[in-house]
Structures are given as structure tokens and as C-alpha cells.
């Protein structure tokens, strides 16, 4: 391992803990606290990855986890940021997006063809002759993407936590620490979030004074004060990854997503140093000035041995001093400014005798065989962006760029702030933040420490005042007395190009200009046509340069040109984080274990699980189902109907309400009787059905379909909040469970049970309803005929469902009672011609089409859907739902949804179809055109591929047409 800088350099590393990992198969030694990138840099390895389009070698740019240059492949973690991911013992890291080796990437040959691949080149070629594109697409697709997804991982554990604070401060630099502290002093509960391992932000690496000690002093002072306050929570290594309405902030830390609600938010997200544009500005070794400072101060790594500083402000001189102090030779400070106004730090650098070239630019960088920078060509600037023909070559192994900043505007813009550009200071500024959000620090265009802290205090005062913690006024807006750190035009085009605007997408100055020449002038069109800003770093380091170039090329101001929309998330976030753990409730009926014990095959219906049928020894499924059907027709069976919706309605207006809500009449319905209830929506479409049981004058119990119950209940409440009829409505679906006992022997089974209900035919006729007690269990019993035999539906309180099940099984034992499932029920009801809402109806079915006109009362004043139904009735219906029979048992059985044809014209479809074990025929329901709806008509069903079957339209029901059996 090469030498590291001595303590106190290397704030984040622990020199006592050595860690070994591998990169590209080579063993690398690092220290605890090192990122993959810094451990490699300590070993003088710059090359990390290959770029997206031209496979150019790339290394560290920001060392802040803000750029895509450092994306590497870790196990089950593609596109990992080498300057963020900490090394662990034995970690296997690799570069990305190369063929061959990272050092010798065969893909880099694409760079040689770059002049044949102009901006938007995909649009301009690859499509002649017709059909050729799909072949090219396959080739191009192989080149697509960066990292490799591990398709065999078992997903890690991710979870979520909610947090609530008066004030959330995003960013733990000088502004954030000050703002958090002041808010806490005023009494707020504060959360301070920083993405780095320690608080301090630029105080940890930037130079604020000639001696270079002020940053740490202030940091210590602030941290001590923060630690003394117990109303500040601090989260480090945590990223606030978006701003959502009402200060709803996702904060990512480790494998946990914190969902934080803040009454007020103060953004102290800082600013991002921006690159200069010159030939080969993407070479490994060409880095931000702040990146060099991070290397030295945070990781104790030497950025190189000979540095050239390219600067457009005084910060570059601070970088030079830092490097000089660390023992790195400063070959030149190349200052873009012709007549700089120096501060004390810059003067110190000059006093030290460092070489300064004012009015000069780095025009090009050159590389050595190891692919990183070996020298720069510096030239005198003639006018903005244009240099003299001849320059000086300076050897160096690192180039530090300090030409200006862009605010980390993403969260503020997501909150609705607007970005404007000041042509004098050449800075993007943020305006029009919402009232629950404040800015402080360099995100707000302040860089001087005193100014930053004053502005942070002011932001805290605004926030605590708005929350009612203080009453004093916030004071004057701080406007900076210092010169702007941004150089207006650090952009130098080169005849050979390769002055990268967007490192992610390998876009150069001419790509941006040519996009505008092609007519794509709006910044959004430039982005979409050139892909500038579409890559993983989302324009963090390209938006400013792109806006300047587009403004220049289209003769507009930078402010007019603007930037593209900043969308969440702020930094790329693993999908596992926002997915979290999955909570999917399952609904099991009270008798669930009885079904399992009886060998039920369970079927999912929404969140519910219901028995489809019960296995019988080694018998095949269909025979089991047919046996269940036979047992109902000839004997007795029971089925769990607990998933049906149940709604209790009580009050003097209950019948009036039902008359308005459902299609039928209810006012004259006698107590102790049940009626079919059909529900339509305002468009006259059938949406639910059930049975309305009048338990007393003012009390109804209504059933609804399993899937529709909650919707029906909510719809009832909505209508009655307008009608204000005198009744209470409650959803008792989960309060009750139920069993249907059906078959010729059903009554015999029930009379065996101890009950105060008289089950005899005379006392309890078909469609009767009784309440009573069955073996001490309070019960509501309805005589219904869904399956077409004598049938009793017994609804009892949820907790005693299993007990009731056991009682009925026991009482039915001597008759050979057997449970039956949904499959048998579907056949039984089909034999009786009963429809299932949702299966035999679709989004267009009105009552007349499904032969339910009888269930619609036309002589009552109003019901939901009534007026529309009468509008529909002005015209003959387009189709009718009818029953059909196929006598020929050798004919293939049509499946549900097979089409009904008239010649080649589609005229309808099958909605239900099954073999009837009772009738020994294929029976079904189908929509047919009106002219085919008469019973006896022949319809043609296209059944699978090119095979058609003929079926005969038949009166419903198929079984027991006079419905004698269910009324026995």
C-alpha cells in the first residue's frame, strides 16, 4: 500500500483496521472507512469504469457520490458508486460496461467512430430497408445498459419507519448545523439529516482561512452545541431522497426507508462543483477541486504528485494551498480570470510563489498509457471560450477544476421553487419556495461562512416563528458581499471535440449545439434529442453547461433557456427500499381449518380463500365436483358462504331507502320475507345483487357479493348523506359468517338441531327469513334457492361459525351430508339459470339484457339508475343473455368467453358453460343478438381455433323449470 497523509488528514479512515478486497480480480489493501474508490486511489489506481456510449475510461470526478463515473459492479449490487460504497473484507468489486478487460476494453473502439455518430444518430439511420431496424436493435441492445443484475438473489430485508418533526434540516454542513441548532434552541423538535458519515459538510474538507483551521473549529463548536440539545435527532449516512407535498420526506438510511413528516423543512443541501469543458476533460485524474480536498482531508489519500489547478474563482487557490500543504507539487494555477480579485487565501498562494497563469485556460488534457492524465495544454484566452493557437504543455498527474457551483436544487425544485440565472454572477438561484420550506447556505448562493451561518439562523427564525415558538422577526435577507465563485464561460471547444458536457451520456459541446441546429431548441427538446441529463447523474454536472451552451446557440439568455425538470429521487435508490416489506392480508373464514381438514382445494377470491372443491381419496378433481353436485341434488350438502357481504340497515326509512337504492320494491315486503335485490349504477349498469331480508318493520339485513360488499356499503352511505333518510347503515360482513345447507334432506338435518325456529315448509316457506337460536347460537336463517333445492342460509356471529359447522356436520352425518365448494355451486346455479354478477355481466350489462327486467320496478318514484334504464328501454336491447344447451356430448365444450358468431360476424359470447352432471348435457349462458334470443334458436359458438359448435337457445332454468324443488 502506498503512503497515506498523516493524521489529522484522513478524518474518515481508521488506520488501525486494514481491509483487503479485490478489484477486477486484483487484491487491494485499504483501511476501514475507505470507499472502494479511495482505497484504489491510495494504490494509485484511477480507472474505475467505462462510459456508457464510447466506453471511455473513467475515474473519480467528485468523490461525493454525485457522478456516474464511479459506477462499479459489486455482488448483487450493480451500478454501485465506488466513492460511496465502503470496502469490506473480501468484497469482490469490478468495473462495468466493458468487453475484454477494464484496462483494454474492446468497446472503446466506438470512440474512434464518434464523428460518425452525431447527436440523435439513431433517428437518422438504421431503418432502411424496412425491417432492418429490428436487427440493428438487437445488436444495439447487446450494448445497452451498464451493470449486471443478479437474477438469483434472495432479496435483502428492507423495511420502513415513520417519523414526525417540527423541523427537518436537510444537509449537515455549516448552514444545516446552524439552522438545526437555532431551531432547537427555540424549542422545536428537530431532525438533522446528512448523507455523509459525519456532520460538517464542507467544514470537513474545504479551506475557509489562510491557516486552514477555521473549518474544524467551527465544526467542533457547532457539534458540541448540537450534542448538548436533546431535541435534535441526527441521522448521518442518510439521504433525503425527494420532496413530496406537505413536507413528506423519504429518508434512506441503510436498508430502511424513513417516511418523515416535517411541519417545516430547511434545505441546506449545498452546491455541487461544476466541471470545466475542454478536450479530454473526462480523463481519469481530471477532478473537481473539492474532490481533491475530500481525498486529502477525508481519506488521507494523495491525489497525485504534480497538480494543475484550473480555476475561475478563489476557491481554486484554497485547493492549491491544501495540495501544497500536503506536499503535492503545484505545477500551475491556471486562472480563467484575466484580472482576479483575490482574497486572503489566494494572496497566500501567490505569496508562497506558486505559479499562477491568469487569463489562461486548460485547453486540452493528454493521457498516458495507463489512461489517466499526463499533461495539459494551457493557452491564453482571447475572448470567452476562445484561446490562442499555441499553448504550453505542463506535465501533471492530476487536474483540479474549480470554476463554479450549481446549487443542489433538486429538492427545492420538487417543492415548486423555480431556478433562475443571474447573468452577472453566472449563478443559478432558487426562487419562490413554498411557505413550509426555507433555504440556507450555498444552495441559496451563499458561500462565505459568516454569511452562511447568519442566513441559516435567519431561516431557523422564520421557521420557528411560523410554528409559533418565537414571535420576533426574522431580520433582513443576507445578500452576499463576496464576489461570485462562478466563472461565466469555462467552456473551450476543440477541433477534435471530446469536451464533455455530459459524462454519463458522452455528449460533447458540438452534440448540444448540433441538437439546436437540427431544430431542437427548447431545453427539454435538447435533452430528449441528445439525451443530455438523462443518465444516472440526472444532469447534476451538465445542466449548467448545457443551459449556457443552448442559450449561446439559440441567442437566448441562460435564464430563458432554463433547465429540465428535477424529478425525484434525488439520488438513485434501490427499489427494495421503496418496496419495503410486503404486507398482504389474507382473509380466512371461521371454518377455514375445517375445510383444510376435509381436504379442500382452496381458491383465492380477492383476499378471501374459499374451498373450490373437496378432494375425495384418489378421485380426479372433476369427479369430486360432480359428486358434490349429485349429493346436493339427491341428498344434502353444506357450503361456507361467510365471504358474502352483510349489511344491516335499521330505522323508520329503511324500506324507502332500499326502494331508492335497489331496483325492486320493498315497502310492501312483509316482515320475515326475503327479496332479490339488484343494484344498478347511474349509468343503468348492473353492479351487484343480493337478498334483502326484512327482519322487522324497521330492520333489514342485506347480502352483497363477496367482491362488492365494501363498495355497496360505501355507496349506500354516500347516497344517504344526500337523502338524509332516517336510518343507520352498518357493514356487518366481518361480524357474521354463514353456511348454506341445501338438498332434499336439508330440512331433515336442520330439524335435528336444537332450535326455536320451526323449519317446516308451512311455517318457514321459500324466501322466508327467521331469526332465532340454534343450539344457543343466535342465527339469522334465510330460505334461498341459489342451487335450486331446499336451502337454508344460516348466518351466525363470526366467532361461532366453526361451532355451527360442526353441529350441522354432526346432525347431517346420518344423511351423508358432505361439504361442497365453489365449483359445484357454480354448476348447480347454472343448472338453475342463476347469473353471477361479474361473470355473466360485464361493464355494459343492463337489467333487461340479462333478463332481469322482472327485478326492476317501474312504478316507483325513483331509484339509482332508473332514469337511465328508461332511456335505454327506448331502444331495443342490442343483446340478451340466454341459456343454451348442447345435446351432442361428443362436441367439444365451449369455454367461458368463447365467441358467438353469425357467419363471420361476432355477435356475442359465452359467459358460463359447464357439463351438467344432473342433465348430462353441456349447458351455458351466452350473450346473443336479439334475433337469436328466442328459445329454440340455433347459435354458433366458435370454440377453440377453427372449430365451431352449434347450440340451442333454451328457456331458463335448465333444471326444474317450475322451481318446485326449492319451494318444497
Amino acid at each position: 500500500m502506498t503512503k497515506r497523509l498523516p493524521h489529522p488528514y484522513g478524518r474518515l479512515i481508521d488506520r488501525t483496521k486494514k481491509i483487503q478486497f479485490s478489484f477486477e480480480g486484483k487484491i487491494v489493501d485499504g483501511l476501514a472507512g475507505d470507499t472502494v474508490a479511495t482505497a484504489l486511489l491510495a494504490n494509485n489506481e484511477w480507472l474505475l469504469s467505462r462510459s456508457f456510449k464510447y466506453h471511455r475510461p473513467r475515474g473519480v470526478l467528485t468523490l461525493a457520490g454525485q457522478d456516474a463515473n464511479t459506477m462499479i459492479q459489486l455482488p448483487s449490487n450493480p451500478n454501485a458508486l465506488a466513492d460511496k460504497e465502503l470496502i469490506t473484507e473480501g468484497l469482490e468489486a469490478k468495473g462495468q460496461n466493458y468487453s475484454g478487460t477494464l484496462e483494454k476494453d474492446r468497446g472503446s473502439i466506438l470512440g474512434l467512430f464518434s464523428r460518425f455518430l452525431p447527436v440523435g444518430f439513431y433517428y437518422k439511420a438504421f431503418f432502411r430497408p424496412r425491417g432492418i431496424w429490428e436487427k440493428w436493435a438487437a445488436v444495439i441492445r447487446k450494448k445497452a445498459g451498464l451493470g449486471v443484475i443478479d437474477q438469483n438473489i434472495s432479496p435483502s430485508y428492507y423495511d420502513k419507519q415513520y417519523k414526525f418533526f417540527d423541523v427537518v434540516v436537510v444537509g449537515g454542513g455549516p448552514a444545516g448545523m446552524q439552522a438545526a441548532l437555532d431551531s432547537a434552541v427555540d424549542g422545536c423538535e428537530v431532525l438533522l439529516i446528512d448523507e455523509n458519515p459525519i456532520l460538517g459538510g464542507s467544514l470537513n474538507y474545504s479551506r475557509f482561512d489562510v491557516e486552514g483551521c477555521q473549518g474544524q473549529l467551527i465544526r467542533q463548536e457547532l457539534i458540541s452545541a448540537i450534542e448538548a440539545k436533546n431535541n435534535i435527532s441526527v441521522m448521518t449516512d442518510a439521504v433525503c431522497n425527494g420532496w413530496f407535498a406537505d413536507n413528506w420526506l423519504p429518508v434512506v438510511a441503510g436498508n430502511r426507508l424513513f417516511k418523515v413528516r416535517a411541519a417545516q423543512t430547511i434545505l441546506c443541501t449545498g452546491s455541487l462543483e461544476q466541471p470545466a469543458l475542454f478536450h479530454n476533460n473526462d480523463l481519469p485524474g481530471v477532478i473537481m477541486g473539492s474532490a481533491a480536498q475530500r481525498m486529502i482531508h477525508l481519506y488521507g489519500v494523495y491525489p497525485g504528485s504534480a497538480a494543475v489547478i484550473l480555476t475561475g474563482n478563489n476557491d481554486g487557490y484554497g485547493v492549491a494551498l491544501d495540495l501544497h500543504d500536503a506536499g503535492i507539487a503545484i505545477k500551475a494555477i491556471v486562472d480563467l480570470r484575466d484580472k482576479p480579485i483575490y482574497d486572503a487565501i489566494a494572496e497566500k498562494a501567490i505569496d508562497l510563489g506558486l505559479t499562477v497563469k491568469t487569463g489562461y485556460a486548460v485547453y486540452a488534457a493528454h493521457h498516458k498509457r495507463t489512461r489517466s492524465v499526463k499533461s495539459v495544454d494551457i493557452r491564453k484566452i482571447i475572448r470567452p471560450g476562445v484561446c490562442e493557437e499555441i499553448g504550453d504543455i505542463i506535465d501533471c498527474d492530476v487536474v483540479c477544476m474549480s470554476v463554479g457551483y450549481a446549487p443542489a436544487y433538486q429538492l427545492a425544485c420538487q417543492a415548486g421553487a423555480q431556478l433562475s440565472y443571474n447573468d452577472t454572477s453566472a449563478i443559478f438561484t432558487l426562487k419562490h419556495c413554498p411557505s413550509n420550506l426555507q433555504l440556507a447556505g450555498s444552495v441559496n448562493s451563499l458561500w462565505d461562512l459568516d454569511e452562511v451561518r447568519s442566513e441559516a439562523s435567519r431561516a431557523a427564525r422564520i421557521v420557528t416563528k411560523s410554528l409559533g415558538f418565537i414571535s420576533e422577526t426574522e431580520g433582513e435577507i443576507i445578500s452576499s458581499a463576496k464576489p461570485s465563485p462562478n466563472h461565466p464561460w469555462p467552456i473551450f471547444s476543440h477541433p477534435k471535440g471530446k469536451e464533455f458536457v455530459d459524462f454519463d451520456e458522452d455528449l460533447t459541446i458540438s452534440d448540444i449545439i448540433n441538437a439546436t441546429s437540427d431544430g431542437y431548441e427548447h431545453i427539454q427538446l435538447v435533452k430528449r434529442y441528445s439525451t443530455c441529463g438523462m443518465g444516472p447523474s440526472q444532469g447534476r454536472h451538465s445542466a449548467l453547461a448545457a443551459a449556457r451552451i443552448v442559450a449561446w446557440a439559440t441567442n437566448r439568455s441562460v435564464a430563458e433557456t432554463g433547465v429540465t425538470t428535477a424529478r425525484p429521487p434525488f439520488s438513485a435508490e434501490k427499489l427494495g427500499l421503496s418496496a419495503g416489506r410486503s404486507f398482504y392480508p389474507k382473509r380466512l373464514t371461521n371454518m377455514h381449518t375445517r375445510h383444510i381438514d376435509a381436504g379442500a382445494e382452496m381458491l383465492q377470491a380477492g383476499a378471501w380463500f374459499r374451498p373450490a372443491f373437496y378432494h375425495q381419496g384418489k378421485l380426479d378433481n372433476q369427479s369430486c365436483i360432480n359428486n358434490e353436485v349429485d349429493n346436493i341434488r339427491n341428498n344434502v350438502g353444506l357450503v361456507d358462504v361467510s365471504t358474502l357481504g352483510g349489511i344491516d340497515l335499521r330505522g323508520p326509512d329503511v324500506a324507502e331507502f332500499l326502494e331508492r337504492f335497489y331496483t325492486f320494491r320493498f315497502k310492501k315486503q312483509p316482515v320475515g320475507r326475503a327479496r332479490y335485490a339488484l343494484l344498478t349504477n347511474e349509468a343503468g349498469i348492473v353492479i351487484d345483487d343480493g337478498v334483502a331480508c326484512r327482519l322487522s318493520e324497521f330492520h333489514y339485513y342485506i347480502t352483497a357479493t363477496t367482491g362488492g360488499a365494501d363498495r355497496v356499503y360505501q355507496s349506500m352511505l354516500k347516497w344517504n348523506s344526500q337523502w338524509r333518510l332516517d336510518l343507520d347503515i352498518s357493514n356487518v360482513t366481518s361480524a357474521y359468517c354463514g353456511i348454506n345447507i341445501a338438498g332434499p334432506n336439508a330440512r331433515h338435518v336442520l330439524t335435528k338441531l336444537q332450535s326455536d325456529i320451526d323449519f317446516s315448509s308451512d311455517a318457514f316457506p321459500y324466501m322466508g327469513v327467521r331469526t332465532g337460536v340454534i343450539s344457543n347460537i343466535p342465527a339469522r336463517v334465510i330460505r334461498v334457492g341459489f342451487v335450486g333445492e331446499i336451502g337454508y342460509e344460516i348466518h351466525v356471529p363470526q366467532l361461532v361459525g366453526e361451532a355451527l359447522w360442526d353441529l350441522v356436520i354432526e346432525a347431517g352425518h346420518e344423511f351423508g351430508i358432505q361439504p361442497f365448494g365453489i365449483e359445484a355451486q357454480r354448476i348447480l346455479r347454472l343448472e338453475k339459470g342463476h347469473i353471477i354478477i361479474g361473470q355473466d355481466t360485464d361493464a355494459m350489462s343492463n337489467p333487461n339484457e340479462i333478463q332481469m327486467g322482472w327485478a326492476v320496478s317501474r312504478d316507483k318514484p325513483f331509484f339509482v339508475g332508473g332514469r337511465t334504464i328508461s332511456e335505454l328501454e327506448r331502444k331495443p336491447p342490442l343483446r340478451k343473455l340466454v341459456g343454451f344447451l348442447i345435446d351432442d356430448l361428443n362436441s367439444p365444450m365451449p369455454q367461458e368467453s368463447h365467441l358467438v358468431l353469425d357467419g363471420t360476424k361476432m355477435t356475442g359470447r359465452v359467459t358460463s358453460c359447464n357439463y351438467s352432471p344432473t342433465l348430462k348435457k353441456i349447458i351455458g349462458l351466452a350473450y346473443v343478438p336479439l334475433e337469436k334470443a328466442e328459445s329454440g334458436s340455433t347459435i354458433v359458438i366458435k370454440s377453440s381455433e377453427d372449430y365451431s359448435v352449434e347450440a340451442t337457445v333454451t328457456e331458463l332454468p335448465f333444471y326444474d323449470p317450475k322451481s318446485l324443488r326449492q319451494e318444497l
Binding site: 407535498a245 326509512d653 331508492r660 347511474e682 349509468a683 365494501d710 356499503y713 360505501q714 352511505l717 354516500k718 348523506s721 344526500q722 337523502w723 338524509r724 333518510l725 332516517d726 357493514n731 312504478d859 318514484p861 325513483f862 332508473g866 332514469r867 337511465t868 332511456e871
Partner: protein, 74 residues
């Protein structure tokens, strides 16, 4: 709801299918799913700002009767 007896077919169709779809402040129905409580909200459909929420009795006072076609014809 327009008069379900007297309104023209076109007016009824507009009631059933059409929406004002205003870009700006609207009064609309909301349901608190957990309690199935319906209430009304004034909301800006451009900014998504909720101006106020209120109970339905502010708009619907007392028992609403429906037009009976038979009594109409009398």
C-alpha cells in the same frame, strides 16, 4: 342531480357521464376508507391544495324527497 323526471335526455346524459373537470377549485366527495365516512372537500385541482373539508349536512339539509311521476301527473 337534475330532476330525474323533468330533465331532457341530453341533460340527463350530461349528468350521468359528463364532468366539469375544472382546473381550479372544485367541491368534491371524499370517503375516509377506514371509517367509510363521506365528507366534502374544496380542493384546487391544479395545486392539489385542500382549502377546506366539511360535513355533508352543510350542503344537504334534511330529508330529500324524490319526484314521484304519479304525483306529478296528478
Amino acid at each position: 342531480m337534475p330532476d330525474h323526471i323533468a330533465s331532457s335526455s341530453r341533460d340527463w346524459a350530461e349528468y350521468v357521464f359528463f364532468h366539469d373537470n375544472n382546473a381550479g377549485i372544485v367541491t368534491e366527495w371524499w370517503c375516509h376508507i377506514a371509517s367509510s365516512f363521506w365528507f366534502l372537500a374544496e380542493r384546487n385541482t391544479v395545486t392539489d391544495e385542500i382549502i377546506r373539508t366539511f360535513k355533508t349536512d352543510e350542503l344537504f339539509h334534511g330529508r330529500a324527497d324524490v319526484t314521484d311521476p304519479k304525483s306529478e301527473s296528478k
